[in-house]
Amino acid sequence: MKQTHMSAALLVEATQALDLDALCQACHAQQSQLLVLVEEGVLGEQDPSPTPWRFDGHALARARRALRLQRELELDAGAVALVLDLLDRIEELQTQLRLRVPAR
């Protein structure tokens, strides 16, 4: 059975960023799990002041990845932060390679 909808697609960036509740819902996670990741700095810079935290699409992807790694590799938050930093570094180097080496 096929249904077709025309859906309004919101870009999850600055103006449409997620708050902590929406991030929990999107990651199927408890607040406490995400608070640990914020403390480890995994989800980008978050202002410690009472202004509500905002998470963009990049933070959402990182949060889901971090939670998968925590659960499936049985890592603690500190180890996950290290793994994500190293994965970022690999991606950065791969991008550099891709940009420099002629695509032939």
Binding site: Q3, A9, L87
Partner: protein
């Protein structure tokens, strides 16, 4: 449905203790986890390993699995056993395998967010949590918002330059009214915002899992954008790069050459004496942005014409004489 050897999947003996099973799982998970592995078919391999661990790490489940293995061996020697179970209309384990209720586990259960999805074999043995959960919460709990779903969408570079409508086809496990799970395919039409970048996420409110219970809102659908590889252009954030080949005389004398951009062909002024490897920037011709557009970079390559005629060879010789150039001076030669 085949019997799955979970001990073999983890590479441990049937007599392995919990500690050995955990160690074996962790080692294989590090090797095959799709977020960290570059092994081919890592994802499929990880699913097998994760399912095996899921079954064997919990003593209750492991005992059930071992018992099922014994039954399977006894029945499996003749075809009649398997035929009878399949014919009963239940799963292959059927009512005769595990009694009417099957197994129900009260523990942490299975995680819907996991990269690993369970095989038919696993579900026949341990049940499907999502279906049972949906039925329970509809009866006993407050109405609850549906779960958020995630998918990846691959778009073309030009879609990102121009924006536009796209139709994507998604299939998701959907609980039916009677608590079963069904793979249902549906098509979602959406507007790709102009200037979208790889890794960005689109949120489609109300397009996720249906709400549980009367009047509960549906979850949202998140789409992570990735770009299909392009034969000419390479994307880095908002900037776009490509290689621009020049003839040696174009690089030496300067030239006006035709160059591609993702949207149209442009004329590019090459300054005299442009070396190979230089990047010429076309400001604002990268991915469009609300505040600032990215740039387009032409990476200069200098290519030789194919094997020459006597006339072109003569011309090169004349150049060699006129230039009196030592390209290896920097090497002290």
């Amino acid at each position: 449905m085949e019997f799955k050897d979970y001990y073999a999947a983890l590479g441990v003996a049937r007599s392995a203790d919990a500690e050995e099973i955990k160690r074996a799982y962790r080692k294989l998970a590090r090797k095959y986890h799709p977020d960290v592995s570059k092994e081919p078919a890592a994802e499929d391999k990880f699913k097998e390993v994760a399912e095996a661990y899921e079954a064997l790490k919990d003593p209750e489940r492991r005992a059930a699995y071992d018992a099922a293995g014994e039954q399977w061996k006894q029945r499996g020697s003749g075809q009649s056993g398997a035929g009878r179970a399949a014919g009963s209309g239940a799963g292959a384990f059927g009512a005769e395998g595990f009694g009417p209720g099957g197994f129900e586990f009260s523990g942490a259960g299975f995680d819907a967010e996991s990269s690993a999805q369970h095989s038919e074999f696993f579900e026949a043995l341990f049940g499907r949590r999502a279906g049972a959960g949906a039925a329970r919460s509809a009866g006993q709990r407050q109405p609850r918002q549906g779960t958020d779903h995630h998918a990846r969408v691959r778009i073309d570079l030009l879609d990102a330059y121009r924006g536009g409508e796209r139709s994507i086809s998604l299939s998701a496990a959907t609980p039916t009214a009677d608590g079963r799970i069904e793979m249902r395919e549906r098509e979602v039409r959406l507007q790709i915002p102009k200037g979208i970048r790889p890794g960005q996420q689109l949120r489609l409110v109300g397009q996720g899992g249906p709400g549980l219970g009367e009047g509960a809102p549906a979850g949202d659908l998140y789409l992570e954008i990735e770009f299909a590889p392009h034969p000419v252009f390479r994307v880095d954030g908002a900037d776009v790069h490509f290689d621009l080949p020049l003839a040696p005389w174009e690089a030496a004398l300067g030239a006006k050459v035709q160059a591609p951009t993702p949207e149209a062909q442009v004329e590019l002024q090459i300054p005299p004496g442009t070396p190979a490897g230089r990047q010429l920037r076309l400001r604002g011709k990268g991915l469009p942005g609300a505040k600032a557009s990215g740039d387009l970079f032409a990476h200069i390559q200098i290519v030789l014409p194919p094997a020459g005629t006597p006339q072109t060879e003569e011309a090169w010789r004349a150049l060699a004489q006129a230039a009196a150039f030592n390209p290896r001076a920097g090497l002290g030669l």
